[in-house]
Structures are given as structure tokens and as C-alpha cells.
Amino acid sequence: MRFLAFLARRIVGIAAVMIGVSIITFAISHVIPADPAVAALGDHATDAQIAAFRGEYHLDRPLPEQYVIYVNGILHGDLGKSIRTRRSVADDLADSFPATLELSFAALAVSLLVGIPAGIWSAIYRGRFPDVVVRIAALAGGSLPVFWLGLVVIGLFYYQLGWLPGGGRLDTFVSPPPTRTGLYVIDSLLALDLDALRSSVIHLVLPALTLGYFSTAVIARMTRSSMLEVLGQDYMRTARAKGLTERLVVVRHGLRNALIPTVTIIGLTFGSLLSGAVLTETIFSWPGLGRYATASAISLDFPAVLGVTLLAAVVYPVANLAVDIAYYWLDPRIQRD
């Protein structure tokens, strides 16, 4: 019961955040000193065309009225029509969001699979060679610009060595699997399409490594410091005194406790992966939300920018909610609060 009440509170919170975000974004996007109709129609458009366009998108109405029209649309499940692509924003988001989600999941998987073991390892061998290696790698991960790193890995693994593809989600002549989730790896598994599966997985490697490097570094450092703290606790000494093997002591008694701060970071990381995908997506020709958001912002495509913002306003709290739920599982003390 307590769990459901907690869930309900969070969902109400998400709704409030969305209302706030939509008002702020709407207001900000309309004080930019440029006309979206000019952005869409360009240098050559006649005044009559611009006036017609402004009418079509209700840009000729007062700002509060535009907001009411917009919210009314949302309540009817309509996110509006993109000024740039002239398609429904919902369709655009449906096309681009799964690509970003797939990339972010892959990057998160890289971060967890590499970051957590590296952090543990580093803590166990504190001050010795493996620790130094991990700490240097983590420092590099925190400081290398994604844009540079992306071009370097493409240059090395695609251009020089030819081991991995240099961009896109699939090989040139591989067809996408039938759309179910929009995540090609999942969809090709569901369709048992091995060609598409192989192609989509190898296309994920470089962008996921590039995007995930920073968060891997963050997770490794966080795991290391919390593991160090845990390793010095009394219950660890007790576990060792009971005669448990070092492996069992670390994994069963240490890790679970050390992971709590890491989980917090994971929630935040996932959000930043989604938004940080902009550069990675550009370098790797990845048709995702980041690139859509950038193109929309540059062309003053308010409906699209609002759509992306609202989507982000849902995704962040949802990721954080998932983290809170994970706490429930990791730390039973929270359930008693």
C-alpha cells in the first residue's frame, strides 16, 4: 500500500513537472527575436506566404491563446505539427526516440558492465597498479570531449582497421526489422531476423562506447569510493571473521551496500545519456532524438522543441522513479521509512 501511495505521489509530481515545463518552454521559445515562419519558409517567401503560414500554425494569435490551443491539443493526444518537417510531432518523436533510447540503453549497459567491476577492482587493489589504471582511464573518460573521441574511434575502428561500421543503425543493404518497439536489436530478435540483429548490434558498439565512456568513468569512480567505505565497515570484518571467502565477502556483503550510491548515479546518468546523445548522434549519423532536437531548435520549430521537452520531462522522472524503486529492493530500510 505504502508503495502504491508512493507511486501515486510520484505520478502526480510528474504531471506537475510537465505543466511547469510546458509553460516555461512555451514562454522562452516565444521571446526569441526571430519568426519561425521565416525560419521555415526562408529567404524567398513572400509576405503572403508567411502570413498564411503564421495563420496555419496560430502564430498570429496572442501568446496565451496559442498556449491554450497547444494544451488543448495535448489533452486530445495531439502534440501539434512540426514547423520544420511539417509532420505530426508525435510521429517525429516516435521515429527518433527509440533510436536514442536504444543507444542510451547500450551506453548504460557499457557503463554498468565496465564501470561497476572496474570500481570494485580498483577499490580492492587500492593504491596498487590496477587502481592506478582504472583511475587514469576514469579521469580520461571524464575529460575527453565526446566529439573528438567519436571521430577518433571512427578513424581507428572503421577507417583504419575496418572492424566496425562508422555510422548509421544498419548496414547499407540490411532492411530494418518490422517496427514493434523501434529498438532494432529488440525488433530483430522478435522477428528472428539474424542479419538485422548482427548489423544493429555491431552498429551500436562504437556509438555506445563513445557515449558511455563518460558515464562509465563516473560509475567506476562512484563504485570505487563507496566500495572503499563499505570495505572498512564492521560487518565486513564480521563476515571475514565468520570465515567466508574474500569473494563472497565482497560480492554478497560489500557490493549490495556499495551499490546504493551507484544506483543514484545510474538514474541521473541515464537522463544525461539521453540528452548527451546529441553529439554522438551527429558523429555517428544516428537518427535519434538529440539530432531531431538540435535541428528543431535551430529552425525555431516550437512544436517540435516543446514535444522533445515534454518527452524529456517524462523520461527524467521515470528514470528517477525506476531508481527509487530499485532502492526499495536494495535497501529494505527505505521501506520502513
Partner: protein, 542 residues
């Protein structure tokens, strides 16, 4: 109890993430390209040309709607027009779907009668008739999308001005204030693409003239048909088996959306791309001499220029404007900043169009520029220079060109304060006549000198002359008259007089006409870039 709460929480966590993943994908109508088969890629790499390009401007493939670079390139290859230009030659209008045309002065109108070739078919197999032509032109007018003004404003056409007098004859009546040459030029453009009216009518929904369907399908008679468009990823064209002209040797063309030019270069060198469209001058240089690749250049009709708002003092003084023109180091811009990737052009009609004037009297003459300023009673001037963000045509950054101008002008006592903004913001300011100096480009809407002379001279057209507050009624009238002249020699003479006048009196510093560079695999043959920004894929083999 505790355990079950744990499982519940895990379930919720998983459900939330999956919901996040699937939510938008199940939005009604979400597949984007309804009916576009995602399964039909490819027919083997051998006959497929892989074209790497930045397709981010692609919003439609409908000939009545497209007015963006990517869209017109693809629509040009999927639709035929009544008349056309061939290759890079914009001087001669050649037969397309029409075998002949005849212009008659009826006293109140110019009537152009087009005779269609016989036995021509659409990709669907339907015959091409005069009804299709009438439908296509009326459709473009009624849709009233970005390119419609070419028919409605420039050619002053109304839907009822187009009639079929028999199944193979179409008559178009133009008012006598419109240029027949201009209209024929417009017909060569994608808006003149003839659609299969029988097929399109079956796809109409809610008065959209089938534009929902033609957004990502083709219904024309060009050498290629659209197989699919995967948004933000690729467009696949396949050879049209019913094409009436010389059959293309390529079986397909795959246009891949690759925004990052380094990726384009890598893919070209690896052989994954056959042609790369968006390489910088430095990348083109790097490609030269490498095995397996070659480069090609194509002309463009764009002009990069600075508009000088003559409602702003002291730009209202013709000598001040001439001083600014005189001080600029054009050769430095073309040869150093652009690595020769442009042509020095200083009048308002670009090379490649009738009426081009090759006079280039200005080149970094500081003494003369200073003399002009002192004649105008000026010693030091401070002005704002509006500059767009990103790369300019020819490959240099807009900001680099602006810095060069600032430097050149500082030598004559003119301080240009550079203000860089997005193109959208810049255009909003410029269109409202609120700029001082504005660095920007112009490309003609149709390949005829009138497409530049009109906007650059006619204040009432509310285009470039208006934005720079230059209201010179006599030159505007001369421009309008020149558009209507049909005799080529007389027309050239008329444009010579106009361009000569604007060169020294207009509010423009025309900087250069950019060249476009491409990277190609060495086995790609027959590639010709048209100055109106497209290439005939059917002429290419590999």
C-alpha cells in the same frame, strides 16, 4: 511480504522502462512512412549508386511541395517536366514530355501551346495525357506550398489559365505582364513535374491533392521511382521500368543521410559511398591523389553578398557604398578563404545565366576607397554586420568571411561590429529592413536573369531591394521590361545596362559565386552537377 514487495518493485521498474521504450512507438500513425515497405532495400551493390549527403532539409518528395535542396534533387529524378535543361546548360530549353511548344500573342495574353509526345507512360503504366498536365499545374497552384509562388506570382498563373484542348495538347495563357521565358524556365523546375493524375486522385484525402501520399511515394514518369524513405536515414530510388527515355544503367540510387562530413569522407575512401556531397575544401584537397577516389566540381547560381541598408546613414550615400565595395579583397576571399572554391563575380546575375556581366572592377583599392569616403564627407564609420552561423557556400565559415570583411574595411576607417545569429533570426531582421550590413546568400528561384534582377532591383517586390531600402523606380522598371524581351540579343543588352548600373549604384557588395565540390569513387562515370542544384542519376554509371 518483504520479498513480494521487492518483486512488485522490480516489475514496476521494468514496466516503466518498457513503457518508456514502447510508448511513442505505438502512437497512432507512428510508422511515419505509411505503406513504405521497410523490407525492400537493395538489389545488390553493383548497380546501386550510394549517395552520401546531408538530407536534414528533406520534408517532402512531392513535386508540388518540395523547395529544399534534397527534395528537389530526388523529385527531379522521379518526375519529368514538359520542357527541360540538359546537364549544366541553362541557355537552351529542350523538349521534355512536350515535343514542341508555340508562343502566340493573342492581344490580351501570351498563349503557349504544348504538344505532348505520344506513347509516353507513367511508372504505373498509365498513359501521359494533357489531363495529367492540367491536373499537375492546377494541383501545384491549389496546394499553395513553398514553390507555388513561381506559378502564381512570377508567371501570374491562375488555375483556370491551364486547359487541355485535346488529349495531347495543353494551352497555358499568361498575362502580358509575365515573362514567357521565365515561365518556361519555371516549368523545368520540380514544380513543373507531371504527376499521374489517375493514380494520385485515388490517393486524395481531405482535399490534399494526394500530397499525403506523394510525401514519400512517387507517381511520375521519371527514370526512377521512390522505393522507400526511412526518415532521417535514407531514401531508396529504383529504376522505373516504364521510363520512356534512355534507360538508366543504375538499378537503384540510395541517398543516405550522413550529416557529418568526416564520415562522408571516410565512407567514400572505404568504398561504402560512391559520391559524397558535403565535403569541405580541405577534405577535397585531402582526397586528391588518393587511390580509388576522384573529385568533381559543379557550378551553382548562388551569390554570396553583403546587403547595405540604404535607409541607414551613411549607407544612403552612393559613394560610401562604392567605398565599401572598393575596399574588399575579393581575391583573398576566393583564393585563400575558399581555396579557389568560388568564382569572383561582382554583378547581380551569376555566371551561367543569360545577362551575366563579367565585369569585376573592384579589388582592395584602399586609396580609392578612402577618397570615396572623403568625397562623401566621412572619415570613420561604425556599422553592425549581421552574419549567419555555420558554413557559407564554398566551404568557409560565415564567421571567417565576416572577419575578413571587417579586416578589409578597417583599413579605410570603417568599423564593422560583427553580430552572428542563426539564419532565422538574421532573416527576420533583414526582411523587416532592420539590418545595417547583412552578409547572406541568394540563389535564383528559376534559371533566368529575371529571378535575380527582379528581387535585387524592384523595391515593390518586397525582396532584396526592399530589405536594403533601395527604392529606384527607374531601374525597377527597366528590370521588368527586360524580363519581357524575347529577342536574346536585345535581352542581353538590356541586362547589361541594368547590371552595370546596379554594380555602382546598388546597395550590394557581391562577394563571390560559390563552386560545389564532390568526392567520387573513381569508377563513377557520367556525373554532371546542374547549376540548379541537382544531378541526373540516369546519366551516371559505375
Amino acid at each position: 511480504m518483504l520479498r513480494s514487495a521487492r518483486y512488485t518493485s522490480i516489475f514496476f521498474a521494468a514496466a516503466l522502462l518498457v513503457a518508456g521504450a514502447c510508448g511513442p512507438a505505438t502512437t497512432p500513425g507512428a510508422s511515419g512512412s505509411a505503406g513504405a515497405s521497410p523490407t525492400a532495400s537493395a538489389g545488390g551493390a553493383a548497380g546501386t549508386l550510394v549517395w552520401y549527403s546531408d538530407l536534414s532539409d528533406l520534408i517532402s518528395l512531392d513535386p508540388g511541395v518540395v523547395y529544399e535542396f534534397s527534395g528537389t534533387l530526388l523529385a527531379h529524378n522521379t518526375y519529368e517536366t514538359l520542357v527541360k535543361f540538359e546537364g549544366a546548360d541553362l541557355a537552351t530549353i529542350k523538349p521534355g514530355l512536350a515535343q514542341s511548344w508555340d508562343i502566340k500573342d493573342t492581344g490580351s495574353t501570351f498563349d503557349i501551346t504544348f504538344k505532348l509526345k505520344t506513347g509516353q507512360k507513367f511508372a504505373s503504366g498509365n498513359p501521359i495525357t494533357a489531363d495529367d498536365v492540367v491536373y499537375s499545374i492546377q494541383r501545384a497552384i491549389k496546394l499553395n506550398k513553398s514553390p507555388a509562388f513561381l506559378f502564381t506570382d512570377i508567371a501570374q498563373l491562375k488555375a483556370e489559365s491551364v486547359k487541355a484542348s485535346d488529349p495531347s495538347t495543353v494551352v497555358v495563357s499568361l498575362p502580358k505582364t509575365a515573362s514567357t521565358q521565365g515561365f518556361l524556365s519555371i516549368l523545368t523546375f520540380t514544380i513543373g513535374g507531371i504527376v499521374d493524375s489517375k493514380e494520385v486522385k485515388t490517393k486524395e484525402s481531405g482535399g490534399d491533392f494526394g500530397s499525403g501520399y506523394l510525401l514519400d511515394h512517387s507517381s511520375g514518369s521519371g527514370p526512377f521511382v521512390i522505393d522507400h524513405w526511412t526518415k532521417s536515414t535514407e531514401v531508396l530510388l529504383k529504376a522505373n521500368p516504364n521510363y520512356g527515355g534512355t534507360k538508366p544503367t543504375l538499378s537503384a540510387v540510395l541517398a543516405k543521410h550522413v550529416p557529418e562530413s568526416t564520415n562522408q569522407q571516410f565512407a567514400l575512401e572505404k568504398g561504402d559511398a560512391d559520391i559524397a556531397e558535403n565535403l569541405s575544401p580541405q577534405q577535397i584537397k585531402a582526397l586528391q591523389g588518393k587511390a580509388g577516389v576522384t573529385t568533381a566540381s559543379g557550378n551553382s547560381l548562388q551569390l554570396v553578398y553583403v546587403g547595405m541598408n540604404s535607409t541607414v546613414k551613411p549607407l544612403d550615400n552612393v559613394d560610401v557604398r562604392e567605398a565599401l565595395r572598393t575596399a574588399v579583397d575579393y581575391d583573398g576571399i576566393v583564393n585563400n578563404l575558399l581555396s579557389g572554391n568560388a568564382k569572383k563575380v561582382q554583378d547581380i546575375v551569376p555566371a551561367g545565366l543569360a545577362g551575366y556581366n563579367d565585369a569585376t572592377p573592384f579589388q582592395a583599392d584602399v586609396a580609392k576607397a578612402k577618397a570615396l569616403l572623403s568625397k562623401a564627407g566621412q572619415t570613420s564609420i561604425t556599422l553592425e554586420l549581421l552574419v549567419p552561423t555555420g558554413p557559407a557556400p564554398g566551404g568557409a565559415q560565415w564567421s571567417d568571411i565576416a572577419a575578413k570583411l571587417k579586416d578589409d574595411w578597417s583599413k579605410i576607417g570603417v568599423t564593422a561590429n560583427i553580430k552572428q545569429t542563426t539564419q532565422a533570426e538574421l532573416l527576420t531582421t533583414y526582411r523587416a529592413q532592420r539590418g545595417q550590413l547583412v552578409l547572406i546568400l541568394w540563389g535564383p528561384d528559376f534559371p533566368d536573369p529575371d529571378a535575380n534582377v527582379g528581387p535585387f532591383t524592384d523595391y515593390n517586390a518586397k525582396s532584396i531591394a526592399y530589405r536594403n531600402g533601395w527604392n529606384d523606380a527607374s531601374i525597377a522598371a527597366k528590370g521588368r521590361d527586360a524580363a519581357l524581351v524575347t529577342d536574346p540579343t536585345k535581352r542581353a543588352a538590356a541586362y547589361k545596362e541594368i547590371t552595370e548600373y546596379v554594380l555602382h549604384n546598388g546597395p550590394y557588395v557581391i562577394l563571390y559565386q560559390p563552386t560545389k565540390q564532390f568526392g567520387l569513387r573513381s569508377n563513377v562515370k557520367g556525373f554532371v552537377w546542374s547549376p540548379v542544384d541537382w544531378t541526373e542519376f540516369a546519366a551516371i554509371s559505375k
